[in-house]
């Protein structure tokens, strides 16, 4: 990374070099604080817990980075995750008598989750690009729609996956490869692919171009609508992928599944250094942002620092500080 090794001249302070280190610095400080407060903080078990928990929001936040970079926003992802989880569980339960408990049933469930995610993302994207409605309004609407649909599907209660299927599916969250849990591996794969797509592909460059000035991008023969649509479809697919990892954890979905995930994902993207108004995206920063958010929760639980009533305050302060750390020196961003 050339931008992280900025020279120490006064002018360099205005370059993204130092500001890019902001989220990393916040992460290092949090890890040091955690290790200082509790001996078990750096244990393999705790690190696995924190990273596996981050994986759902993490995969969604990587997709959100592309949406925000191209000047969009998606508030519906949390409700969408709940809706996909509900449909996926109902589909698997419904097919159970005909297919029996087995890997094919799980694969069908996974296919359903990805298909519903793709369609949901496509719906959001088409409303933004074809119907020309503000993304904030479109996704505020679909947020309510998905949330109430899952409550309706669950009859106000909880949709639970059949016990036998769940036992078979459970390892997708709880076990892994070489001691690293599957959700962490999936998150890592999504993050690396996202970083490459943002920095080294035409798609990533187009996203940034559209986000900084969509008229100029259009005059430069970029198919603006198509790229925008693709960002929402990609995000929908990633929400589907996150749900595939989420369902085996508790085997259920309800009206309170995925509550406020959208805000956590957006917060992670912004903490990571992506501009909320679009034009610049940083996928690795988003990953750091997601981990910061789940570390705050983890440390508060491990440490008994303050009254639990004040947990929200601590979270808010750290989020704002993490952004101040990276924006303080570079007013141009």
């Amino acid at each position: 990374m050339s931008e992280t090794t900025a020279p120490g001249s006064a002018r360099a302070l205005h370059m993204p070099g130092l500001s890019a280190l902001g989220p990393l610095l916040a992460l290092v400080l949090l890890v040091a604080l955690g290790a200082f407060l509790n001996d078990n903080f750096l244990s393999a078990g705790n690190i696995t817990n924190v990273l596996a928990r981050s994986a759902f929001i993490g995969m969604i936040a990587v997709g959100m980075t592309f949406v925000i970079t191209s000047g969009g926003l998606d508030l519906s992802v949390g409700s969408m995750a709940a809706f996909i989880a509900g449909v996926m569980i109902l589909a698997m339960n419904a097919l159970l008598p005909s297919m029996g408990v087995g890997v094919p049933l799980i694969l069908v469930g996974i296919a359903v989750a990805l298909a519903v995610g793709l369609l949901a993302g496509l719906g959001n994207g088409l409303l933004v690009t074809k119907a020309r409605i503000e993304p904030f309004i479109v996704t505020l609407g679909t947020m309510g729609i998905f949330r109430s649909l899952v409550t309706w599907l669950a009859d106000g209660g909880t949709i639970s996956l059949d016990f036998a299927v769940r036992q078979l599916y459970r390892p997708v969250y709880y076990s892994g490869l070489f001691g690293i849990a599957w959700p962490i591996l999936a998150f890592a794969a999504v993050a690396i692919a996202g970083q490459i797509a943002m920095r080294h592909t035409r798609f990533g460059r187009y996203c940034e171009a559209i986000g900084s000035n969509d008229k100029v991008a259009r005059y430069s023969a970029v198919n603006v609508d198509r790229v925008r649509l693709m960002t929402y479809v990609l995000l929908g697919l990633l929400v589907g992928l996150a749900t595939i990892m989420y369902v085996p954890r508790l085997g259920s979905a309800s009206g309170s599944t995925g509550l406020l995930w959208e805000l956590e994902a957006i917060a992670a993207v912004i903490i990571g250094g992506t501009a909320l108004k679009g034009g610049y995206g940083r996928v690795w920063g988003t990953v750091v942002g997601v981990i910061i958010l789940s570390l705050i929760d983890n440390i508060l639980n491990l440490a008994n620092l303050v009254s639990p009533y004040l947990n929200g305050t601590i979270q808010g302060v750290i989020i704002v500080l993490a952004v101040v750390l990276q924006r303080g020196k570079s007013t141009s961003a």
């Binding site: 817990n49 106000g156 909880t158 508790l250 009206g255 639980n301 639990p308």
Partner: protein, 319 residues
């Protein structure tokens, strides 16, 4: 403005006329308005289901009683619902589970002042004497019954962790009663964090408890949704043999496991979502007969054990 006053006045007159002739009540068409929070989590989902089932049953039994059911996702909508019921549906009685006490107090008082019967469920209003009938669960007993079980089944020096709900007075009452009940038993509470009555949140809080504490002998999850998350975290850590869990409310999956004598879930404490049925039935009785039903009806919190679990098991309810 004028039209509105006229409407209210005529409604009040109609209500007074209704009250003046209780004998004729059986033949007169009666409309009962029901306003409850929408099914946003397990407990409320169960409550909504029981409300709908009870309404079906009552309308089948008493053909002259009609219901208007409205569910609200937030407090403002609930106030609007109640206003609409009075102005457009001409209700004779209101059964309301207030979202929050303070903001609902004056709208419900207005209904009472218009001469309607008012039944308040579960969450009291902030001003005494408005409601004719108050039906509620017993939060103090909910905490106390759980605490007494812990005291009776743990030895001095054993360690427990507690998951709290959403920070509210209701949660405080439960936790205070729990602490009072185990007072002097020598049981040590290692930690108390908020799990927000949510499975996912309870799962991660419990994971962190397990990383932090080497010895945990029991968990008061204080809610069945949270108990599900807690059990999953314990299973992940492979520490099922070390501790048992007590939830609360009476979710069918949990009650089933108690019936099956699951060693991890010895008991549960009731806080039945079916308390809405009690309120509806009693209110209907007021209009179907001359039975006196004003006053307070507090539904006790009892211990569900493998022996009595069958009577708390409702396999068709979503909760």
């Amino acid at each position: 403005m004028e039209r509105r006053t006229f409407l209210t006045a005529s409604l009040a007159a109609a209500a007074v006329a209704g009250l003046a002739t209780p004998i004729a009540a059986q033949d007169r068409k009666v409309t009962i308005g029901v306003s409850i929070p929408s099914a946003t989590h397990g407990f409320m989902g169960g409550l909504n289901w029981h409300a709908q089932e009870t309404i079906k049953r009552i309308t089948a039994t008493y053909p002259n009683i009609d219901f208007v059911l409205a569910t609200a996702g937030e407090v403002g909508k609930q106030v609007n619902d109640i206003e609409d019921m009075v102005t457009t549906r001409n209700i004779d009685a209101l059964v309301v589970l207030p979202f929050e006490s303070e903001p609902l107090t004056s709208p419900v008082k207005a209904v009472k002042d218009a001469g309607k019967w008012v039944t308040v469920v579960d969450r009291g209003l902030s001003q005494a004497g408005i409601e004719d009938l108050y039906v509620a669960g017993d939060n103090t007993a909910f905490g106390r019954v759980a605490g007494e079980y812990f005291k009776a089944n743990l030895k001095p020096g054993q360690k427990i962790v507690v998951l709290r709900g959403i920070p509210t007075t209701l949660d405080n009452e439960r936790v205070d009663a729990f602490k009072a009940a185990i007072d002097g038993s020598g049981i040590e509470i290692l930690d108390m964090q908020h799990g927000n009555w949510n499975r996912d949140k309870a799962f991660s809080v419990m994971q962190d408890y397990l990383s932090k504490h080497k010895q945990i002998d029991a968990v008061w999850a204080a809610d069945d949704d949270m108990a599900i998350g807690v059990l999953e975290a314990i299973a992940q850590a492979g520490r099922q043999q070390e501790m048992w869990v007590v939830g609360g409310a009476g979710m069918k999956e949990i009650v089933k496991r108690i019936m099956d004598k699951d060693p991890q879930l010895p008991v549960d404490v009731t806080y039945p979502p079916a308390l809405i049925s009690t309120a509806l039935e009693i209110t209907a009785l007021r209009f179907a007969s001359d039975t006196p039903v004003y006053g307070r009806f507090i539904i006790g919190s009892t211990l569900i054990t493998p022996e009595n679990a069958a009577q708390f098991y409702f396999p068709n309810s979503p909760f």
